[in-house]
Symmetry: C2
Subunit: 331 residues, 2 copies
């Protein structure tokens, strides 16, 4: 195992500490238990937004803490849910009197631990609502999930809910708009290579030199099927078609197109995928009005990409466009 | 070779085309010859800034075209200099009457082709000045270079020169501040894995499972020496120490610290490196007042990282902080 780490047990703590040092203008890091909050403390009267999950998907979630997006992120061990004892203090730290919305990717451990933390917070007088992200169309149920997995669509949920909270929407309204994003966003990904969890020390799965896994999960969970080495245009169609079909995209729809790298793929290849996905949407009469291309929800050093489509309306577009100031997303 | 591409001969054109579609608000793409210019056309009276070089280092350079940074980027084939016939029209496209500064990484092919292009432009009445970036302290002379190579420090040169041009500095002043960045920036990198140029189809070099190359170039050129698998803290010291020594950093200096990923390294690992580099600078009494962590000057899917230090003063800090609006750098 070749990695730029020290003791595998320390990688999350050391990485988060470095993150806090590099972005002290944006975030404050708490180390025991580990969570990251927006710099400057609570914003009185604003709904607090908390997300989190296993580490290894950076910049998700800590990279999205800041003005216009998350108030706190709670990183677990690599590919492992954070504990309720970590999540509850993060919720408390961002409760500014208007309640807290937790944004949880649909994995059994995350759902359970965020719910337990919400009960703890509730007992302390904080109103907590939760939205579950389950945008991955590849599989129903999987290794770590009852129902669909939450993957790259999470970025859109966090950005848009963050903008709603920032403009002063109340908890019900922020939860409603977050749910509306969930209802309108779909993703599917593929992997060219596996990834290695530091404390495991060997690749999460085997993929032959001439195999590509279609429908991969962000922890290397099995997808739909394996194919041989095919051109990017063919592979992109295998991602975009199920996404567009599941969303029921219709001629005249306007969408956000997110091409997400899994961590080890060159940026240039992501734009090759973007080019084809956009052409396929155009053939369906769907207009791409907003775009995002880059590494946003990764799987360590995995090579691969996912395609996410979010159906937009005027409000979602305005919330997407609203100012954001985080380590990984800023405009 | 596993890549998300179609025909290897088309990867640059298709990627640049996708880039232009995704960022039409920021850039306009010319496809024959290929170059990328800032959207909205020439800014009358502003010095034009042009950079370029072989592709495969994305987001460099096209990702830095936009307000407050480059006016044009000229991508060659992967790891191959763009031709004078490509560069000259890019220079002409951004000449707004105040002359053009070209920012060239110090590789023999790039230097030659940018100089030829400057002569062509000069014959057409455009005043062109050039600044050479040679921040890599790893080696004097190398496979493609007489003198030091230009690597991740290029980002700082482009950002700061871009800010100077944007505020209305004349050509001499923009060239002078660019040169001042070059004089105060140093970099050294390492590789955990090689990378594969699409039209070659096999890795650029061999690196055993238990070897790390210290002082690697961004094309996989040999560095100083190979070491075994060592902790990130030890490896980081092997990068930071020669950088700091070469810069002659002194107690009380203020610096920008850039930890750059080579394309295939997880973000979390870059922050582990950042944490250690920062501690080492602190031990020397050097204050990190600005930071950048991420994939900015890459080598396709290579796993590895580089450490860049730029000695700051008030003016360089203000120019670094000035607004920038590009695909890869925005604040």
């Amino acid at each position: 195992m070749k990695k730029l780490i020290n003791d595998p047990q320390d990688v999350v703590a050391e990485s988060v500490e470095g993150f806090g040092l590099a972005h002290a203008d944006l975030v404050t890091v708490h180390l025991d238990p580990t969570f990251v909050v927006r710099a400057g403390g609570r914003v009185p009267g604003k709904v607090g937004l908390v997300s989190g999950g296993g580490s290894g998907h950076e910049p998700l979630h800590a990279g999205f803490v800041g003005v216009g997006m998350l108030d706190a992120a709670v990183p677990g061990a690599v590919f492992t849910s954070p504990t309720p004892d970590q999540i509850a203090p993060a919720i408390a730290a961002v409760d500014a009197g208007a309640g807290v919305l937790t944004i949880v990717k649909n994995y059994t451990g995350d759902v359970l631990n965020f719910e337990t933390a919400a009960e703890l917070a509730d007992a302390d007088g904080t109103t907590v609502r939760q939205v579950l992200v389950n945008d991955d169309v590849a599989v129903e149920d999987s290794l770590y999930t009852a129902g669909r997995r939450g993957v790259a669509g999470t970025v859109a949920v966090e950005k848009i809910a963050g903008a709603a909270a920032e403009r002063g929407d109340d908890l019900d309204a922020v939860a409603a708009v977050a749910q509306r994003v969930v209802d309108n966003v779909r993703t599917m990904g593929l992997a060219l290579t596996a990834c290695t969890v530091p404390h495991v020390g060997r690749p999460s799965f085997d993929l032959a030199d001439d195999e590509i896994e279609i429908g991969i999960g962000i922890h290397g969970e099995p997808g739909r099927h394996r194919v041989g080495l095919e051109p990017a245009d063919v592979l992109t169609e295998k991602l975009l078609t199920p996404v567009a079909d599941d969303l029921g995209l219709a001629r005249g729809d306007r969408v956000l197109l997110l091409v997400n790298g899994m961590g080890g793929t060159p940026t240039s290849e992501l734009y090759v995928v973007y080019r084809r996905a956009r052409a396929l949407l155009s053939e369906r009469g769907v207009e791409v009005t907003r775009s995002l291309v880059g590494n946003y929800v990764t799987s360590l050093e995995m090579q691969g990409a996912s395609v996410t489509v979010l159906r937009l309306d005027d409000e979602l577009t305005a919330l997407w466009d609203a100012p954001v100031r985080t380590a990984a997303l800023r405009w």
